[in-house]
Symmetry: C2
Subunit: 167 residues, 2 copies
DNA sequence: AAATATTAATTGACACCTGAAGTACTTGGC
DNA sequence: GCCAAGTACTTCAGGTGTCAATTAATATTT
């Protein structure tokens, strides 16, 4: 992706000795960081997606939704799912429809607010998710197994800070 | 080998729910790392996508394809685009169709092999891409601007190693 | 040269995802 | 009580993405 040629800073930046140089380098630095992160994510995501398809005939979004529900035995509202999965509401509706049709999740009406649904894993959904989750963990571990424990810790820490910063 | 939980007793502040919320305490560190990376990537991607839509009425895949072409003035084959964008060939066909219809790219036939196309940016495509790329760079820089230079360097380095390992 | 295999790109079926518009319900001010 | 504003979810159109099957051209084998 990306990268325009050098671009003069448009922000009022102090003209210290090497300010411009540092800013200039920073441009390339951030974009490079972003592209590299994106490349890593895409590769891992592709592997997980292909494995889910090949071994469980399911998809990443379905797995993701079920993973959210597994942590919330009392169920989650559609809006909560939407927020946690970082996707739009309309999307959650579609994925939930599919899973419900297959009997893996169910919508339960709220006692006091008839607009909201509480989505839960069915017994079958729980069984299936647990089988998938165990394998999923192995896939991820294998992909990261060339990286030392120490570096993984560094990455977790640095990405944690990044995550906090970008809100 | 268990991970250090960062459940700081300090802050009763509710954590923003996201992909990482699916974590159990006993999940492997690699899974934690993966989900955190995914969360960061998703957030940044969402910002870029929304900006591209709002300011240029275009999309991330289109931008991505044009970015690849801008770096290859002699053009790229469909298969090369597919490989560099890390998506399937069928997908590239669709995106290229759209851009071609809008006159931003063109397919040129190969002199010796009539199966291949060389996709190039049109003059208009170049103009438009350069405008977008400049802004895109700013968006990325702004999102990363809370992170120190040193940490960005560390991230670039660590992600580079990760990228090499997962092939 | 003819038959076969390989390669580049496209197509079609299906799932995902967004943004905007629509429906049903609840809430808060009067 | 009424009604406007807000909330929870769904629907719809359009672009993105996969895989598998197909078409067309080139390479290889015989």
């Amino acid at each position: 992706m990306a990268m325009a040629k050098d671009r003069k800073a448009q922000k009022p930046v102090e003209r210290q000795a090497d300010a411009e140089t540092r800013l200039h380098d920073d441009h390339h630095q951030s974009v490079r960081l972003w592209l590299r992160m994106l490349a890593c994510t895409n590769r891992i995501e592709n592997v997980v997606r292909r494995n889910l398809q090949a071994k469980f005939a399911t998809t990443l979004p379905r797995f993701d939704l079920m993973a959210q529900l597994e942590r919330a035995p009392r169920g989650l509202k559609m809006s909560e799912l939407s927020q946690r999965m970082m996707v739009t509401g309309g999307n959650v509706t579609g994925i939930t429809d599919g899973l419900e049709k297959e009997g893996l999740v169910m919508r339960e009406v709220d006692a006091t607010d008839r607009r909201v649904f509480h989505v839960k894993l069915s017994a079958e959904g729980q069984r299936q998710f647990r089988r998938m989750a165990a394998e999923h963990e192995q896939w991820v571990i294998e992909m990261f197994e060339g990286i030392s424990e120490r570096r993984k810790n560094q990455l977790v820490e640095l990405l944690g800070e990044l995550k906090r910063h970008i809100l």
